[in-house]
Symmetry: C2
Subunit: 262 residues, 2 copies
């Protein structure tokens, strides 16, 4: 069974019924998928301000009203408590459990943040004939903790995390231009070449994800990564924080092209 040609609503319904407990890559092709971060209202101002101050790693698509599980702007009728295949529940900064729905955990003071995810710009890269190595090799994108601090906000602070894609030198400009059209899903690269300038010692040993092959002459190109806000939020050790499980994203009703700036 593939859900690549399904409408987002159908994908979410199948997930809600427990029929799809797998990563969402490739589901509802052409539609935007989102990272989820759920925090108590008392931490929401600082986190919202953190996303504003760090839009490259934290491109914010929607914030729900306290207690409401419905993202009325990007997927009216959806329920963030049931419509992702798998969640991670952190208590005081420690992974407490993985669950497939949040109904027993939901509270009136919880605020859900949906943040853009790189699937959209990777689809744009492929359409522009820019290779995406980790997809070719069937791996997770390699991610690295950098020496660049994010701009702090209240309790939230921490280093920028980047993803890396090796790009042939004649296609670096195109890769930059294509992704710059999509600031709501991380946008243009934050850094091209020289991993050491970001404090990355060994591209073959990413902090998250898998290493990928870098062919002779290819340039490592770095984009701000959605792991950043999760890592930053976790460092605050909030009494309760809920995220999607890696790769198990929320599928919105927004078409990729609806996010393009020009």
């Amino acid at each position: 069974m593939s859900l690549s040609t399904a409408h987002p609503k159908e994908v979410r319904e199948r997930i809600r019924r427990g029929e799809w407990v797998r990563p969402t890559a490739g589901c509802a092709a052409g539609y935007v998928q989102a990272n989820l971060v759920v925090l108590p209202r008392e931490l929401a101002y600082d986190f919202l301000l953190f996303t504003h101050r760090n839009p490259r790693p934290c491109p914010l698509l929607e914030v729900t009203d306290p207690g409401s599980p419905e993202p009325v702007r990007v997927a009216p009728g959806a329920d963030l408590r049931t419509d992702l295949p798998k969640y991670r529940v952190y208590r005081h900064g420690v992974l407490a459990e993985e669950v497939t729905d949040l109904l027993p955990l939901w509270r009136d003071d919880l605020v859900a943040f949906l943040l853009g995810c790189s699937f959209t710009f990777e689809a744009a890269l492929l359409k522009a004939e820019v290779p995406v190595r980790h997809l070719e090799e069937g791996r997770n994108v390699p991610m690295y903790i950098t020496n660049r601090p994010c701009d702090p906000a209240g309790l939230f602070e921490g280093p920028l995390v980047v993803s890396m894609r090796p790009i042939p030198p004649e296609k670096v400009a195109r890769a930059a231009a294509v992704t710059a059209r999509f600031p709501a899903v991380h946008g243009a690269p934050v850094h091209v070449g020289t991993p050491e300038a970001l404090g990355i010692r060994d591209l073959d040993r990413p902090d998250f994800g898998d290493p990928v092959t870098i062919r002779p002459g290819e340039v490592p190109v770095f984009w701000a990564c959605g792991v950043t806000p999760q890592a930053v939020a976790m460092a605050v050790k909030p009494p309760l924080m809920i995220t999607h499980a890696p790769g198990h994203m929320f599928v919105t009703d927004l078409r990729d092209e609806a996010l393009a700036v020009l």
Copy 2:
């Protein structure tokens, strides 16, 4: 005395010393100017969320930390209590006074929001040889309250306010493209033609600002307007709200082109 070629720092110093108590249009040409809204911390989350949900009328450039008058990102070293020529102080939604500095009023719980202003995109229009009628006629831009509600957030809600510039039909596309490059200062038009579809009955009777000449065949083009967040905040009647006085903006260190998306 003109400050058009002065650096923003010099403009702010002169204002701070009380040597410039006039509108800032034309000061530090090529640099971004900003609208100011100051609110107590207890209203800051709802207002921040309102700006996120309504980025066209409320393009947010910076939010200060509670109690800090320094916008460290767009003008390090500046002081928002003294560096605007004139302020308006509203108490419970009523204009209480106009002042030239905020030192006696400042409190540890105040948060300052700086929002992009249309001077930047008007400069871009002029460079692209698109006429800007109210500048030609030495008037304020005409502004209209529309029938379109903003997306509410907590306590904050209200109608979208737009500004209007009449554009020759062969230049409408260029006007749209030029301003689309600057989402941080309202971006592309929200509406082209048909004022009645926005609930505007008579272009000659704007709700704010001055009417301008519309020549035969010219198309009224509407942009989201920075009066929107002020009007919306005022409607909540907060115990204390401070804004810039109309036209008396904050001059940042950001160059206009630094805000261009592509």
